[in-house]
């Protein structure tokens, strides 16, 4: 698959994503620059984590106005695949490609640690090949990761099978106790109704390398790429 990884000036997970997709998963990777508008016929556009434009205002609030985003919105509206990780998820919500918003964590602190994810949706490409009995160990690292949406939106997300990942414990049990940031319904990631745009706060690209002793993230990419 031809993957385009966008670099905003304050992106800091772009190199990790390029390494994961290119070196580990052996995909063709194109580096896209925020000031460009040509997405070079990529099949999958990835918005990596970081602090796109410093994020002093609200995470992702300025990035949505960058030249490359117009092309990405068009690509998504034509059915092309878009994946946003962490800050990328925030940008997708800000730009309206995904519903809801990401608020400050409920403990008002940045938090970085391994968490466990349960693949909830059975119908989205990013989860469809995942063993739903397994919990996936993936790191989070964010200050604004509390997924919030109104009840109506949450009901729709559930009804349409758009919740892709929920925070759970080691054994796959979803509970408030293991909700790291206060997200509604323990939501860690969602897709749009068409199931071609995906956003998630956890970082699967940080869990693909055997030398780092965790390759659960590789399984998530493989589900999406195959």
């Amino acid at each position: 698959m031809k993957c385009g990884v966008v670099t905003f000036p304050g992106s800091n997970c772009n190199h990790d994503m390029i390494y994961a997709l290119g070196n580990v998963l052996k995909q063709e990777v194109i580096e896209l620059w925020h000031k460009d508008s040509d997405i070079q016929n990529c099949d999958l556009i990835v918005l990596p984590g970081g602090f796109s434009y410093g994020d002093y205002l609200r995470s992702g609030a300025i990035a949505r106005f960058s030249p490359i985003m117009d092309s990405i919105i068009q690509h998504a509206n034509n059915g092309g695949m878009v994946l946003g990780i962490c800050n990328g998820f925030q940008i997708l919500c800000e730009s309206g490609l995904l519903p809801g918003a990401l608020l400050h964590n409920n403990q008002q602190k940045f938090i970085c640690k391994n968490v466990f994810l349960k693949p909830s949706s059975k119908t989205t490409p990013i989860t469809k090949q995942l063993n739903e009995e397994k919990s996936f160990k993936i790191p989070i690292a964010h200050g604004e990761g509390r997924y919030f949406a109104d009840d109506k939106t949450l009901k729709e997300l559930t009804k349409n099978d758009q919740v892709i990942f929920q925070y759970c414990d080691e054994n796959g049990v979803v509970s408030e106790e293991v909700n790291p940031n206060g997200s509604c319904l323990n939501i860690a990631g969602i897709s749009n109704a068409n199931k071609n745009v995906f956003g998630m706060m956890p970082h699967p690209e940080r869990a693909v390398d055997l030398l780092l002793n965790n390759t659960d993230g590789k399984l998530i990419f493989e589900s999406l790429l195959n």
């Binding site: 000036p9 304050g10 800091n12 997970c13 190199h15 990790d16 390494y19 994961a20 984590g49 970081g50 602090f51 434009y53 410093g54 994020d55 002093y56 602190k109 940045f110 938090i111 970085c112 640690k113 391994n114 790191p139 690292a141 200050g143 970082h203 690209e205 940080r206 693909v208 390398d209 030398l211 780092l212 002793n213 965790n214």
Partner: protein
Amino acid sequence: MKNKSSLQIATLDQAIELGLKKEEFQEICKIMGRTPNFTEMSIYSVMWSEHCAYKNSILWLKTLPKDGPHMLVKAGEENAGLVDIGDGLACAFKIESHNHPSALEPYQGAATGVGGINRDIFTMGARPIAQLNSLRFGDIKKDRTKWLLKGVVKGIGDYGNSFGIPVLGGEVFFDDSFDQNPLVNAFSAGIMKVDELISATSSGPGNPVFIVGSSTGKDGIHGAAFASKDITEDSMDDLPAVQVGDPFQEKLLLEASLELSKSDAIVGMQDMGAAGITCSSSEMSAAGGVGMKIDLDKVPTRQDDMKGWEILLSESQERMLVVVEKGKEDEVKAIFDKWDLNCEQIGEVTQGDKLEFFQHGELIASLSPKSLVLGGGAPQYNREYKEPAYYNEFKKFKIEDIEVPKNLVEVGHFLLKQPNICSKKWVYEQYDSMVGTNNISTNSPSNAGIALIKGTKKGIAMTVDCNSRYVNADPEIGTSIAVSEAARNIVVSGGNPSAVTNCLNFGNPYHPESYWQFVGAIKGMSAACKKFSTPVTGGNVSFYNQSIVDGKEVPVFPTPTIGMIGLVDDVEKAMSMNFKNVGDSIYLLGHCKNDISSSEYLYNYHNVKSSTAPYFNLDEEFELHTLVQKLIKNSLINAAHDCADGGLFITLAEMGMTSDLGFEININSNFRKDAYLFGEVQGRVVVSVSNDMQEDFSSLLKSFNVPYENIGKVVENDFIIDNESFGSVSFCKEIYDNALALNL
């Protein structure tokens, strides 16, 4: 008229107010052959401050071992130390303090400390790959301590997380002596290709000089002078001397600088830390034996009508001074334009030893760059030192005066929740520890942080260590211990200690008793660094760490923080500290003694504040390291953890809690139970050994002189000592994990 305040002839009173001594002012007049104007005198006052000139420390720093087979630059020659790690790659690393700013404004103080140290690394052309930090605070029960701790941690987190370099480890220590004056020491390491080194030098008269990065504002003026005086109740008046950080600008500056390092347009570059434009222009000129002419009207400023000396002394962050090869200006401008950063030509390199600053068309300062800098005209002093009375008092401590507590379980639980021992999760979870996907220790906890060098199987092991209490008890031994502990942490993680950077936090150098601590620390550091073949590549000195409360001086515990790196040849052979299998044998390697001196147990459980440093022997320590390296190389152990704060009990508990396994051990009856479990005798490591390794393990041990003892085995759930349960793993973990948060 516009330059009136800048051009006014300086007076002795002004000089003294800015921190110069009378003799120094006279020396300046002699060097210049005239009395300096206010701007020139301001420049001397910062360049000759302790912070920039190391005037009271340099003579002793010169005695530290500097040479080693892998050193690529000499100490102090570049912005950071540089070690050859093979394959054409080098590791740049350094530690620096930001204590005084953090005491006033913990958030910005700590944030700009992180910014400054990373800038030192990427100014050389290296991409930072990992950070550590070493923090010290006062009594955790005090509101001021909580405010400082929360602010410092958030400052480090917000800056580093946005900048995008993982924090791999660090230390947090609490003692009342840090109540007013916390210590914030930040370490960064980066990787570069050896041939892409950018030097902090200038050459080629006629070459253009650029300022790049943020605009210059009025923040941090006289910050270097502020850092060179005592923290007092009036220190809040110096708040404008604290800089404000912008990690987004730093990130842009990083990317642009690294693109610049790959071009051939650059002659030299230096970041602007202390004393801003003044320090960078004079140091680069002095290093290259040239002069410089700078027009301050060309410097992008945040506000109008800044005075010449304000522009010169501003410590606004995220700026660099760049000397470019003439004719290649456009190449450089294009790079900074891509990253939307300022890039303004402000002057040019000139012939001769003359640094000239112009404003509004007028020459406002003309000085010799050589006369300003360390190693040139900056003063170097021999200070008087005297053994303080407490040192002999501490030696009077006798273990016999302390009764062995009846309930050792209670002592164990007491120690698990001590702020100096308990999990620092509350702190480190606020730092991004995994960005860059090179942190080996996330899923495989080890004593030192290990960063994978992408594209190879090599790793850089790194650690920061110093037990300030030991150094206070005995500066020389305490500092040898700090170096040894750093080396031990690297060795038990599977690395080979390679080089040291240091951050020397002490009191007022003009007080002979404080200076005695400094001198002792240097001697102890020299001895240990020579033994481990780990030369000192640089670092910084922070004096004046003390508070004056109600007229009485309270110096902080002397704290020579040691930052050490080591090479791990194959990260798949790196050693983790968590127990692996139920049934594995547990061995204690090293000398046991009836010693509880300066332990957390003695100091906080028994409340005995005066005792000597714990037992330590440099030769025994070295042999232990050689043994552990061999055990790891031959795959004869499956976990290793050194005995440090809290003694053997805490070591075993940590090995169990990181794997949710327990242990069952017996106390050697030749020793007092409390000394055996909680004493902090140095030079000891606990390892676990599986059955199939046992035979080769034993035969290797026999070829060494290191004492060893099979103390028990790994079990499923409980911590059991002499058949008595110290609680289940989950119970102890609950105490250990949550203690810090409960205190806040």
